[in-house]
């Protein structure tokens, strides 16, 4: 019985932390509790969540994707550069760009048998160059009328709720369904928990891995599109500050980097924690620059807490 409570506590610890943080900030500044403020905070978190959501799948397999920030920047460039020419078709083109980049990371990692962190790091180099190429090394503005007609789904309000939240919620549901209800989702968990067992049961592990990496690139691509829609421009360095918070969001949410344990809603909660911590630090007068120091250490601490050490004999 006690064990059950302990397990429940572990599952909902991130949620408890989030609620405590919100109460703490609300205690200092009651206007924080205003519905409009809470909604705008959540809306601001959605691009981070979109980015983290795909990587969650990769981390659950025990791998990592260090290319998402480069991919999001690149797709923002693709979108901004091709929106005037191809209209609405620039969006699927940008998503495709993300998917191809994700596929490349997965392909290099699995087929050439290179550890995923170095494979995706290498791919991110190529992706960054591609971003510069698409944007002609500049930041590209998206004209207001094009933005209104093609990217309206990502900005503004529907039923009083910012559309970023709707977009985030849709992908939260889709990815959770993929992870919880499909054989693919089960295999992702299985690979993270015990890769050799999945291999021995005759599953093409590489194919599942490549699919997960592709999904990760795709989500990063979508995050880049939403970012470009919000800012009204695309740039080859648009998302370069997002890698640390995205990975922090995932591990703070309770997904272990050793794989096997995790879910998409955890990354959702983790992204909100990251955002709320950031707001809290701004309240306390910690400079934006210094916040990165704190996040660096939060990342290491969260990894240390969530990691399952029984799974790795030697920590490299």
């Amino acid at each position: 019985m006690v064990d059950r409570y302990k397990a429940l506590l572990q599952t909902f610890l991130p949620v408890i932390v989030l609620v405590l943080l919100v109460l703490l900030i609300g205690g200092y500044d009651p206007t924080f509790f205003a519905a409009s403020n809470l909604l705008s905070v959540t809306a601001d978190t959605m691009t981070l969540f979109l980015m983290a959501s795909g990587v969650t799948l990769v981390i659950m397999m025990g791998g990592i994707d260090l290319s998402v920030q480069a991919v999001a920047s690149m797709t923002s460039c693709i979108l901004a550069a091709y929106l005037p020419r191809y209209g609405i078709f620039a969006i699927p083109l940008a998503v495709l760009g993300g998917a191809v980049a994700g596929f490349a990371g997965g392909f290099v990692s699995t087929r050439l048998r290179i550890p995923s962190f170095i494979a995706t790091l290498a791919v991110s180099g190529v992706v960054i160059s591609a971003g510069y190429w698409f944007s002609d090394t500049r930041s590209v503005n998206i004209p207001a009328e094009l933005r209104d007609s093609y990217l309206g789904w990502a900005v503004g309000d529907t039923l009083g709720i910012p559309r970023e939240i709707w977009v985030g919620a849709v992908f939260l549901i889709i990815l959770s369904a993929i992870l919880q209800l499909t054989p693919f989702g089960r295999l992702v968990r299985g690979i993270g928990a015990q890769e050799r067992a999945v291999m021995a049961s005759g599953i093409d592990v590489n194919r599942i891995k490549i699919m997960a990496f592709t999904l990760s690139g795709t989500m990063a691509g979508i995050a880049g599109i939403v970012m470009a829609a919000r800012l009204g421009s695309g740039s080859p360095t648009l998302a370069s500050e997002f890698l640390l918070p995205a990975i922090a969001a995932i591990v703070v949410g309770g997904t272990a980097i050793t794989g096997g344990v995790g879910s998409i809603w955890r990354s959702f909660v983790g992204a909100l924690i990251v955002q709320v911590v950031r707001i809290g630090m701004t309240f306390m007068g910690v400079s934006v620059f210094a916040q990165q120091i704190v996040f660096g250490f939060i990342l290491v601490a969260a990894v240390a807490i969530t990691m399952d050490r029984s799974k790795v004999l030697v920590i490299k």
Binding site: L112, R113, P115, V303, K316
Partner: protein, 346 residues
Amino acid sequence: MDPGLRRDDGLMGDHDLIGRNRLKTAALNGGALAQWRKWAPLAVLLALCILISLFNGNFLTIGNFIRLLNSAAIPLVLCMGATFIILMGSIDLSVEGIVALTAVMVSLLVTNDISPYAIGLFAVPLAVIAGGVMGLLNGLLHVKLKTPSFMTTLGVGFAGVGIAMAVLGGDTVRISDQTFRFLSLGRPLGIPMAVWIAIASVAIAFIIQERTRLGRWLYAIGTDEMTARHAGIPIERTRILIFTVAGLFYGLGGVLSAAQFGQGHALISQGRLFTTITAVVVGGTALSGGVGSVLNSVIGVMIVVVLANGLVLMGVEPYVQQGVQGLLIIAAVALALDRSRLEVVK
């Protein structure tokens, strides 16, 4: 069936078999394949030089050669640290963070337009030690919290850039201390001071690697950590020490960066991590640990620098460099990794 064809088939089969056997025993008796692997980076470097000089007559001039050495200086210093860590089978993603931090620190300590310290060359050992402290932090967190090195160093690296940004608030410090800038710009015997410092770094790293217990232990850990542990090697202490030594080299790299550009800012190290890891793996040091040497990294740095120089001479846009380096990492790792040891690749 044509008998000739069948004989050919048989021959090809034999070749294949010999090749495979060599692959298996290469690590044990240093067969032809191991020999080839050992010399491949040097062959690539020579081929690259010949190819570029065919396309462009300006490549093989003394002026260009000195320019090459000069741009190789900082990557060389950084690679000395990174090679040690990769030889242990770990990885260090904090290169940019530590370089940024130490570059900003040293530029605030010498004569500059923001802070009043102006302690001149005394700033150099302080900044190098600061790099060592960051490396020590890497090692302590990695070993004591038992977190994988890539995650630990990612976090510490971000923190390093964060500190550099927080100290300067995003500004740039301009250095006006000419004695300090001599560290990069001075030219004893016609060769830039930075190159002399890089050569000294390589010599020190080589001595650590070949002539100290630390160097021997780090090969043992990289080859097989469990066995090394059973043999009584103090794994934890060695790991922490190696991360600290690497931090010292990055600190020196930061000092040289500040001296070269005459300024310090948080983004001074952008792209350094990429170049460093590319150079180490292109030089033939295996990411799986235990195989390679700091001398390999010297070749690796020269390959990266010559390629970059060649691309510039051929008029390729500078932003393509990072993409080319990315492809180089993939190619080099794919060719060099001894995958027979790895069943599960994470």
